[in-house]
């Protein structure tokens, strides 16, 4: 495992290594720069932003801009909505995907393959195909403009069940299940007592993944949350930009406030996240 690392180290001392390292540093700078620029714009006045030559350092006006932004849109309301939706989506998805994934992984039952193929088949279908019919369905069950319209459809995501099934197959030894059976556990108890503890790392990943995707979701909330008083953060941000286009300081302050929470969560949870994404990609 270390070998590529050693090679990399040796390489880094050579000429090509130097170039590649420079590239790496450049890559990091490029990745970070837009965030830096966001901070600069959010802390300056519009005159500064539109000035030429541009001011490249952050300024002192963050609080003013944030205050103006808070007066312009229902930031905290949409923040709360987004937090609720993302949290519930994450928790419920973790629950459903792990329960179902565990069942598919470790048990044989009639229809098992058929059902799973059904799930796989829908993975090929783009979600936007369902946008119009889903809206109509929501209209007919009275869920247009509600938060459950954002939470519930996503709970039956193919990725989650796929991921948990993979993991469960590998991580849960059959003997433990047998032992549980002998102890008289019913299926659900097997899930809570045997499976859940073993599935924790995969659950952590799925939870964060689902949380982030739910937080960032745009098209579906835009379509289904037709009440402008009750929207999520992304939709609010888009509205802010639409209404106050040229007031960059205002819009950027909102963007900054909307982005920070997720960055914090991501950094805190990054070790669960990054390793798993890479591993998952390689395995598939």
């Amino acid at each position: 495992m270390d070998n590529t690392y050693d090679t990399a180290q040796r390489k880094s001392l050579s000429w090509s290594g130097l170039v590649l390292n420079a590239l790496l540093v450049l890559g990091v700078l490029v990745s970070i720069f837009p965030f830096y620029w966001l901070i600069v714009m959010a802390t300056r006045t519009n005159e500064d932003i539109f000035a030429y030559p541009p001011k490249l350092l952050p300024g002192p006006h963050l609080l003013d801009n944030v205050q103006r932004m808070l007066d312009s849109i229902n930031f905290w309301g949409s923040f709360a909505n987004t937090a609720i939706v993302a949290s519930l989506s994450a928790v419920l998805t973790m629950f459903l995907a792990s329960l179902s994934g565990f069942t598919f992984a470790k048990f044989r039952f009639p229809g098992r393959n058929l059902l799973f193929i059904l799930i796989l088949a829908t993975m090929m279908v783009p979600s936007q195909l369902s946008t119009v019919p889903s809206f109509v369905i929501m209209a007919n069950i009275g869920w247009v403009g509600t938060l459950q319209a954002l939470i519930v459809p996503g709970l039956a995501g193919a990725f989650g069940i796929f991921w948990m099934r993979q993991y469960a197959t590998a991580a849960i030894p059959n003997d433990l299940i047998d032992a549980g059976r002998l102890d008289g556990c019913n299926h659900f108890q097997l899930y809570t007592n045997v499976a859940l503890p073993l599935l924790r790392p995969a659950l952590a990943f799925l939870g964060i993944f689902t949380f982030i995707n739910s937080w960032n979701d745009y098209l579906w909330p835009l379509v289904v949350l037709i009440n402008p008083d009750r929207i999520t953060l992304q939709v609010a941000l888009a509205q802010l930009q639409g209404l106050y286009q040229t007031d960059y300081a205002l819009v950027m302050a909102g963007t900054l406030m909307a982005t920070i929470p997720l960055i914090v969560i991501f950094i805190l949870g990054s070790k669960h996240f990054i390793g798993n994404i890479a591993a998952g990609a390689v395995k598939s």
């Binding site: 909505n81 419920l92 809206f135 869920w143 509600t146 938060l147 859940l196």
Partner: protein, 434 residues
């Protein structure tokens, strides 16, 4: 181990139950029922379509009642349509634009105002306006709001210099037809090099079209885009183009405002609400403009209606609100505060309509618009209108601005209209010309 297991299960259980419980209660966020009760009216309108003070007055007159007026920006009709499709958060009362008949196929989404007793008010309003809010099978879904009678705005000083009549009545008499107006235009442009007779050609197309009673699809849902009304508007516009009578500035642009203040054009045809733009742009030329009747007959562009959706909780209260804010007195008030031209007959005869206006050299221009308003005939906008008009407008703009050949553009427009309408308005009937 036991503790964490059971607490985990409790957590799971409550997590699963939460959304179900919340759906049941009227918890904000989880319910699609609008907030408020039977004494709240949710109303949608767009900027400057109604004077909000009228809402406050209504609230005062009816203690305990709240009017939750919501200004809706952007694509109003599209938002309203999507809301109706979503069957959630539909307003109780809604302002509707001049193309109200686009809602006729979905008339069941609105309350039939005749059922609320609207027939009693019919005599208060201009007949054509009242009829325009009525569906083809006699349901009244839109109560009259304001109107947009057209007029010819002109620079009387330029007309004088060109040897043309200057008094509004004389101008009206002289320019009975568009051709007369264009002929005079040539004379004026010769006498005053550097000044054009009108602002732009594509808008003339629209103005002429608005003098007709049916446009691209008639009341029987038969396509008439190759028929008289459209052909006339097309020909008139192209005549003006051929005679090079336009300054090529589009209304609602800074160029147009500059054209006013720099006196680049001597006249234009527009609705009563163009007055506001003229006033805003023409400070330096105040006193030089007058208003006369449009060549070719009276026309109307714009104007609105107000209706009650079937989702309204307290329909009687909503109807009360509508009658109050659209009463002749209220319409006079809105004319004074927002220049919204009334549709109520008594309002049209109010003394305020005869007040001289400084900007127009003391002419009481409202009188001209009242004359027009009273002469208008009922018209019909099919739901296909926005689609068809977009196409024709584009084609004529291509001719005028891009130099496309006229007959090619006409055929293109017909072809495109057929294709689009068959796709988006499949109920339209196509009769082959013999």
């Amino acid at each position: 181990m036991e503790h964490s297991r059971s607490s985990r299960r409790r957590f799971l259980a409550s997590a699963a139950a939460a959304p179900l419980v919340l759906t049941g209660c009227n918890v904000p966020g989880f319910s699609s029922r609008p907030e408020g009760d039977d004494d709240t009216i949710v109303l949608w309108y767009w900027n400057r379509s109604i004077d909000p003070q009228l809402f406050r007055d209504f609230e005062e007159a009816h203690p305990g009642v709240t009017v939750n007026d919501q200004l809706v920006g952007g694509d109003y009709a599209s938002r309203f349509n999507t809301t109706l499709a979503g069957q959630a958060f539909v307003p109780d009362v809604v302002a509707l634009n001049n193309d109200i008949s686009r809602y006729f196929p979905d008339a069941d989404q609105f309350v039939d105002l005749y059922e609320m007793g609207a027939e009693e008010d019919r005599h208060l309003y201009l007949d054509w306006k009242w009829k325009a809010g009525e569906t083809l099978d006699g349901r009244l879904i839109g109560y009259p709001m304001d109107t947009g009678p057209l007029a010819l705005y002109y620079r009387h000083d330029f007309f004088e210099q060109a040897g043309l009549p200057t008094e509004p009545d004389d101008v009206t008499a002289q320019f009975a037809e568009w051709e007369d107006y264009f002929e005079a235009g040539l004379e004026l442009q010769q006498a005053l090099p550097g000044v054009r007779m009108m602002d732009n050609v594509p808008y003339i197309y629209l103005m002429t079209l608005m003098q007709a009673q049916e446009f691209y699809v008639n009341r029987d849902q038969v396509y008439v885009g190759d028929g008289e009304s459209v052909r006339r508007a097309w020909d008139v516009a192209l005549q003006a183009y051929g005679m090079d009578l336009a300054a090529r500035v589009n209304p609602f642009t800074p160029d147009w405002s500059a054209g006013v203040s720099e006196s680049s054009f001597a006249s234009f045809v527009g609705a009563v609400w163009m007055k506001q733009f003229l006033l805003e742009s023409g400070n330096n030329v105040a006193g030089t403009w007058r208003v006369a009747q449009t060549p070719g007959g009276p026309g109307n562009q714009g104007g609105s209606f107000i209706g009650i959706t079937k989702y309204a909780r307290n329909k009687e209260l909503c109807f009360e609100l509508i009658r109050t804010i659209m009463s002749p007195e209220s319409q006079v008030r809105m004319y004074k505060s927002l220049s919204l031209f009334p549709s109520a007959i008594d309002a049209l005869e109010d003394p305020v309509m005869s007040e001289p206006e400084d900007f127009f050299g003391g002419q009481p221009t409202a009188e001209q618009f009242v004359t027009t308003a009273k002469e208008l005939e009922p018209f019909y906008f099919s739901p296909a209108y926005p689609i068809a008009h977009g196409i024709f407008n584009q084609e004529i703009t291509d001719v005028v601005l891009g130099g496309a050949p006229e007959d090619v553009a006409w055929d293109e427009a017909q072809k495109q209209a057929k294709r689009e309408l068959q796709h988006k308005a499949p109920w339209v009937k196509w009769e082959e010309a013999s």
